[in-house]
């Protein structure tokens, strides 16, 4: 069987804020048996524009992503939220030609954890991390892409890792993209409750599948003086959680 | 144009020239057919009964503490007065009831009966027109011998239901709504409210106690 050709969609946040998540995703895809390429013509999925009501701005970025990725067997990215946006591209176009190209890309776009588990049937082998961890379900991955059991199943394969349930794991952390800076008071109230629930688990690590949510929760936890360390789930699965966590000096 | 004409015209315009494109306009028969189709395979969209037999299911539902009802199975109409007095005694109530006027209650021997129900009535008795097994509801239709207030005003409401009047599902009752009484009320348990911090409190405006007398014969 020939290896699937995967275009890695890095996401703008991972690109700038935590490249290690991009490398973890790339490694995992390779280990799962994919040929991975990183198209240079990628920047942002257009979500900030789309969520702000700038439909034309979102449409222009959608064209760019479609052109850069439609030649691959799959588009895979480390974010349910960005992939959710890409899956929704067909709704942006009234032009039939673009709409069907958008539909084509939408069908083969996946968030990394769902992709590893559901498409590649991959399981971690020989990955070890002696720690306790809890998991937050990022909303877009959970509700737009149905990513819920997959990360938990994958994490079960990490030796030494003990998972602890998080009260309200499926409740939004208050990030919401531009929401968190447009309505900072409301966002802070939401993430403070989330942080309290995380601390209550007593876990060493907080894991999630979206860097935006992770930065929000990590930023609040750190401001409150909590010791919880935050990683993207892909980093743990790729055996890259032995280094600095989000916000720790490298 | 009248408000009626304006509203209907606006609705029609929205349906024929709306953003989503024109909705196909159909004749009344086609509309009725589609409406009926939406009720196909009801078992796919309603819960199972609590028991196979509707009467057993009704009894099981009434046993659910959330409903706040008590139920007594009565062998036949002749045994009713004794069952009523037993309830009144159990609650230290005088042998005095507001009675709906249903002729089947004329034979309540040993009870001082009167009409109509007073605003501060301690106890009243009515005969339900139906029971619904799905939910443990009883149904009353307003009528000359079925005052609605008799079911609403008392602190204790006793309601007689005949086993043969237990219908399986809410949908089975819906057929009878076609008789269009002024008021048809499905009553499921005692009156209650959760308006103060979500606490459930019985007897908000209607009866705080509902006692079902399920008559077999």
């Amino acid at each position: 069987m020939t290896k699937p050709r995967v275009g890695l969609f890095v996401t703008c946040l991972v690109d700038a804020m935590r490249p290690q998540i991009g490398w973890a995703t790339l490694r995992l895809l390779e280990r799962a048996g994919c040929n991975v390429e990183v198209p240079r013509a990628q920047t942002c999925c257009g979500q900030p524009a789309g969520n702000s009501g700038d439909k034309r701005g979102a449409e222009k970025l959608a064209r760019q992503v479609i052109e850069a990725f439609e030649g691959y067997d799959y588009l895979v990215g480390p974010s349910g939220s960005c992939v959710g946006q890409i899956r929704s591209y067909p709704t942006l176009f009234s032009d039939q030609g673009w709409r069907s190209r958008a539909e084509g890309l939408s069908r083969k776009s996946f968030e990394i954890l769902g992709f590893l588990n559901d498409v590649m049937g991959w399981k971690p082998e020989g990955v070890r991390l002696d720690a306790t961890a809890t998991y937050h379900d990022s909303c877009s991955g959970l509700r737009e892409l149905g990513v819920q059991e997959q990360p938990r199943a994958l994490l079960e394969g990490v030796e030494g890792l003990q998972m602890r349930p998080l009260d309200g794991a499926n409740v939004c952390c208050g990030f919401g993209g531009t929401f968190c800076v447009k309505y900072p008071e409301i966002s802070t109230a939401i993430v403070s409750e989330k942080a309290a629930n995380i601390v209550d688990t007593g876990a060493d690590l907080l894991l999630a599948g979206d860097l935006g949510c992770l930065m929000n929760m990590a930023g609040r936890l750190h401001r409150e003086g909590a010791a919880t360390r935050c990683f993207h789930t892909a980093e743990v699965l790729a055996g890259m959680a032995d280094g600095p966590a989000i916000g720790e000096e490298g | 144009m009248s408000a009626r004409d304006d509203i209907l015209a606006a609705v029609q315009k929205g349906l024929t020239q709306g953003q989503g494109g024109a909705v196909q306009r159909r004749n009344p028969d086609a509309i009725r057919a589609e409406a009926a189709q939406l009720l196909a395979n009801l078992d796919e969209i309603r819960p199972d009964l609590a028991a196979g037999d509707p009467v057993d299911a009704f009894v099981a539902k009434c046993a659910n503490p959330a409903l706040g009802v008590t139920l007594d199975r009565v062998a036949n109409w002749q045994a009713l007065p004794r069952a009523v007095i037993a309830y009144l005694d159990q609650h230290d109530l005088p042998h005095r009831l507001s009675v709906s006027g249903d002729p089947r209650l004329d034979a309540l021997t040993g009870i001082e009966a009167h009409q109509p129900c007073a605003p501060d009535e301690a106890a009243a008795i009515s005969v339900a027109d139906w029971g619904v097994a799905e939910t443990g509801s009883v149904v009353i239709h307003s009528a000359p011998d079925q005052p609605i207030l008799n079911a609403m005003l008392p602190r204790h409401w006793l309601v007689v239901v005949e086993e043969k009047k237990i219908l399986p599902f809410l949908d089975d009752y819906a057929t009878y709504a076609a008789s269009r009484p002024r008021n048809a009320v499905l009553i499921t348990g005692s009156s209650g409210t959760t308006d103060i911090e979500g606490f459930f409190v019985r007897g908000a405006h209607g009866p705080g106690f509902v006692h079902v007398l399920l008559v077999a014969g």
Binding site: N51, F179, I190, H222 | A3, P116, T194, G198, G206
Partner: protein, 469 residues
């Protein structure tokens, strides 16, 4: 840029610890009970899809059903009135009250009544108005508006209620526990029920093939408001139609489980015309006021699916924003996600542009919606309208414009990232940024992780898939 009225209201709400306690107590219970009710109803997902289909069918044939309902309601002896907007609706109701020479009116909770400003209109007309739903009674004593569509007094703790009742109830309650306070309200309101001239209710459903209106309550106040008075008035939105009682039953199963976690409310009442000859009780006249107030416009625009709404309140009980700020902060009749879609329809987008934006788009509302309303999509549609009509102004529009310009030029973008990251890192201390210009929205309450020295794309350009050592 000054704080908007919404932001100010949200700020005040967040500063009130009492409010948060009150909201948590009720929404917490509601969420748990709903989950149990849905868990015990394996057919729920199929029933939701059918519920949505029933409502869509009604809206697609709304003119047909309105006319059918009117014909059957008139045949049962009811008077049917039509109102284009809220002013017209309130005017019709007050006129009926005046024609009946009404001194005292009892009202059973109806959000439509709130929408058309009925409490205010009756007060202005000098008619004594008594709210009979316990929560509405609390609201009336506090001179407030509802903060939730199922629990209008959700924002009030039991301690608040005790204060109100001890002040206004004569005689006062025996004690300040919920049961004693409910008993006191029962005592006070009982006299009002029996002496009212007119009773006003809303409708959860309008049954086209019988001409009946259907109301669901747990307290029994609808029956007590509508049976003793001489005149019964129903106000209802035109989207409340269903083809038949059977269809109402299918929706009722969804409504009650989603609202309170019960299977069915304690009282499900069908009203059809006035007292029949010989009837033991009931009003002499029945009036039904069919209210449009923006609904016919929704039939034709991108908000049509919102007309499916059966007003269960599940979306707000599961909304992270509602649970922080409560209902009053929304500033309209309807709060929470459904309110954020409806309020711009009713009050205009200029008045309420914050509402569709003050949402994290987490989608939990549409996940629990019993009639599958795509609330996220509808909220986004308002954002598009807001953007297109230039209501999104200032730094955000500029920032997004700049961002978009760069993002559509990948070489420029990657070059810019390379330059920007080291600058951002200057604000960092350890791995974190505690304060940075233009980032106060984040850094006032959260630390920001310091970005990488080099972006992923830059690292990959140098090292390929091998990556940096």
């Amino acid at each position: 840029m000054g704080a908007s009225a919404f932001t100010q209201r949200a700020h005040d709400a967040l500063a009130d610890p009492n409010l948060k306690t009150a909201i948590d107590r009720t929404t917490g219970t509601a969420e748990t009970k709903r989950a149990a009710a849905v868990g015990a109803f394996p057919e729920f997902q199929a029933a939701r899809a059918r519920g949505a289909a029933i409502k869509d069918h009604v809206i697609a044939n709304l003119d047909h059903y309105l006319v059918e309902f009117e014909r059957n309601a008139q045949a049962a002896g009811a008077h049917v009135h039509w109102a284009r907007d809220k002013a017209e609706a309130a005017e019709i109701v007050t006129r009926i009250c005046k024609d009946a020479d009404a001194k005292l009116v009892t009202r059973a909770k109806s959000m439509l009544g709130e929408e058309i400003g009925l409490p205010h209109a009756l007060d202005d007309a000098g008619i004594e108005r008594v709210e009979t739903d316990l929560a509405e009674h609390i609201i009336q004593l506090a001179h407030e508006r509802p903060s939730h569509i199922i629990w209008p007094a959700m924002h009030r703790t039991r301690e608040d209620v005790a204060t109100l009742f001890f002040k206004d109830h004569h005689p006062p309650p025996d004690a300040d526990d919920p049961a004693s306070m409910v008993a006191s309200a029962r005592r006070i309101l009982r006299e009002k029920f029996m002496s009212a001239d007119v009773g006003i209710s809303g409708a959860n459903f309008l049954i086209a093939d019988t001409g009946a209106t259907c109301t669901v309550t747990n307290e029994g106040n609808a029956e007590l408001s509508t049976t003793p008075p001489r005149v019964h008035i129903v106000t209802a939105g035109i989207e409340k139609l269903v083809p038949s009682t059977d269809h109402a039953m299918a929706l009722l199963r969804l409504l009650v489980r989603s609202a309170t976690g019960g299977e069915v409310t304690q009282y499900t009442t069908f009203h059809s015309g006035p007292k029949r000859p010989g009837d033991a009780d009931g009003p002499e006249e029945m009036h039904i006021v069919l209210v449009d107030n923006g609904r016919s416009r929704m039939v034709g625009d991108e908000f049509r699916q919102m007309l499916r709404c059966i007003r269960c309140g599940a979306c707000m009980n599961h909304c992270v924003v509602y649970r922080q700020i409560g209902g009053h902060a929304y500033g309209g009749t309807y709060p929470g996600p459904m309110g954020a879609v409806l309020t711009p329809v009713l009050d205009g987008l200029a008045q309420s542009r914050d509402l569709p934006h003050a949402c994290t788009m987490n989608g939990r509302c549409e996940e629990v919606c019993p009639v599958q309303i795509p609330l996220k999509t509808l909220l986004k549609a308002w954002r598009v309208r807001s953007w297109d009509s230039q209501q999104e102004v200032g730094p955000l529009r500029m920032g997004l414009g700049l961002w978009g310009f760069a993002a559509r030029r990948p070489r420029l973008y990657h070059f810019g990232t390379r330059l920007a990251l080291p600058v951002m890192r200057l604000f960092g201390k350890g791995g974190w940024i505690r304060r940075m210009p233009f980032a106060g929205g984040w850094t006032d309450t959260r630390d920001l992780p310091k970005p990488a020295a080099r972006s992923f794309m830059s690292q990959h350009a140098n090292h390929g898939n091998e990556g940096p050592k």
